[in-house]
């Protein structure tokens, strides 16, 4: 295992130190628990908080700042954070209008956030949770843990963060977050595995001509292993699954998000975007907004995911609204 780290036990800690030093104008660390806070948590807004395992940077810590998150609670690499983190972070950034937890659908995240929410509710602090579950690679069923939360989370945090910044109520912010989740679908793939620092070796092994389709963001194996294909064929596979699931229809206006898993060069993500754009054009689905880059990653994994969000006018306006975080910035 070769990584730019000092000790495996301190990877998350030191990375957070670097983040807050580099962006001291935007974020700071919580004094007692592991949480990244907006440097100026305004009082007159709903506090939007997310969190989850580390290793997906810039998500979530890089999305703290104006127009997005008020706090992010990072766990160890690929490990859900603990309830005290979400509880204390919420207590610190809640300005009185309540707290929205944006939670990705993993058993661990759900349970840990739930405990924090219970503790807050016990103290009379208004708290709501929205579970993001946009990964169409996972078969959805009442009898399973359901679909994972993946790329849709980034879009939800941006759009919902903008709404909260406008001063909307907890109820409104929650409703919007549910609407984003209801209209977003994703699917990912990997060309290589990744190595959890503390584990010291790759989570899975892929042959020199193999890829894994339907991969999550934790180096967990996907649903299908196959010979590598061209970008065009990969886009066809991923986008077909995504489009058919909602389903997205001709005439729909979408935000197309091509996300890199961390180890894939930006130039390749643009090739994927080019193919995705052709694919959607043929279906009459209109890309009216887009995002291309490494936003929800899986350490140094090579691969990508495709996320489509069906936009309405409010979502478009909120997507365009100014945002100023270490990982996403425009309009200011």
């Amino acid at each position: 295992m070769k990584k730019l780290i000092n000790e495996v036990e301190k990877v998350v800690e030191e990375s957070l130190q670097g983040l807050v030093k580099a962006h001291a104008d935007l974020v700071k660390l919580h004094p007692s628990v592991r949480a990244v806070l907006r440097v100026d948590s305004p009082k007159e807004k709903v506090a939007v908080i997310s969190g989850g395992g580390s290793g997906h940077e810039p998500m979530h810590t890089g999305f703290v700042g104006f127009g997005m998150l008020d706090a992010a609670c990072p766990g160890e690499i690929f490990t859900s954070p603990t309830p005290d983190q979400m509880y204390e972070a919420a207590k610190t950034v809640n300005g009185g209008k309540g707290v929205l937890y944006i939670v990705k659908n993993y058993s661990g995240d759900i349970m840990n956030f739930q405990m924090a929410a219970d503790m807050l509710a016990g103290e009379g602090i208004p708290v709501e949770q929205v579970i993001i579950n946009d990964d169409v690679a996972v078969e959805d069923s009442l009898y399973t843990a359901g679909r994972r939360g993946v790329g849709g989370t980034v879009l939800a945090e941006k759009i919902v963060g903008a709404k909260a910044e406008e001063g909307a109520s907890l109820e409104e912010v929650k409703k919007l977050c549910e609407r984003v989740n209801a209209n977003v679908r994703s699917m990912g793939m990997a060309l290589t595995s990744c190595t959890v620092p503390a584990a010291g070796k790759p989570t899975f092994e892929l042959g020199p001509d193999e890829m894994e389709i339907g991969i999550g963001i934790h180096g967990e194996p996907g649903r299908q292993r196959m010979k590598v294909k061209t970008a065009r064929d990969i886009v066809e596979m991923l986008a077909t699954a995504v489009v058919e699931d909602l389903p997205f229809k001709a005439g729909d206006e979408v935000l197309a998000f091509v996300n890199g898993m961390g180890g894939t060069p930006l130039s390749e993500l643009y090739i994927v975007y080019n193919d995705l754009s052709d694919f959607l054009e043929k279906k009459g689905i209109k890309i009216v907004r887009n995002l291309v880059g490494n936003y929800i990653t899986s350490l140094e994994m090579q691969g990508c995911s495709i996320t489509l969000l069906r936009l309405d006018e409010e979502m478009k306006r909120l997507w365009d609204a100014p945002v100023c975080t270490p990982g996403l910035r425009w309009g200011m």
């Binding site: 160890e76 490990t79 859900s80 058993s107 661990g108 399973t144 843990a145 934790h218 967990e220 194996p221």
Partner: protein, 213 residues
Amino acid sequence: MDNGKLDVTKAIEAVKRIKDIVDANKEYLTELDSAIGDADHGINMSRGFTKALEKVKSNEYNDIGSVFKDVAMTLMSTVGGAAGPLYGTFFMKASMKLAAQKEADLSLLAQAFREGLQGVVALGKAQLSDKTMVDALTPAVEALESAAKDGLTLKQGLEKALAMAEKGMKDTIPMVARKGRASYLGERSAGHQDPGATSSYLILKAFYDALEG
């Protein structure tokens, strides 16, 4: 004056043994989690029980409930993932049954573990054969209960529970996961032993070994 019951010293010894056995199996648990999860279970458990042992060693205890409670709180705030809240809840619910108790015989421990298991099920909503820790814990608790009914000693009861946990753990191999991260794999999760069921077996083994002396 060993009466074969679980007293404060033995409870702390059990925590120490859990820490040791989890550490010894850290890579093994992580490897199991690589196959059908995200390669962190051994790391998570080792971090949690290292902290839990530090905690219980630094405290004075008058009852075993408090030992269990400190373990619970520490796991809750250091393990994370799915296993953190689940094992945290297991020890928390068990601690309530053991509150203010200086020691536990087989019957009391069986009741405490039953409470713990019910907490795990209430939180995680896993049923038998979902390929989780519940598949190891359930037969183990049942064995404790029936051993208590048969009037066996604590050590004898734990021996039976351990055997059943081991069987439950191995039975997870062919199962298709329906809870936790492994469920994303669908059919591909079959053929692999569940990491959480394995750590549950190890925890029972540590309790058994602690009573061995």
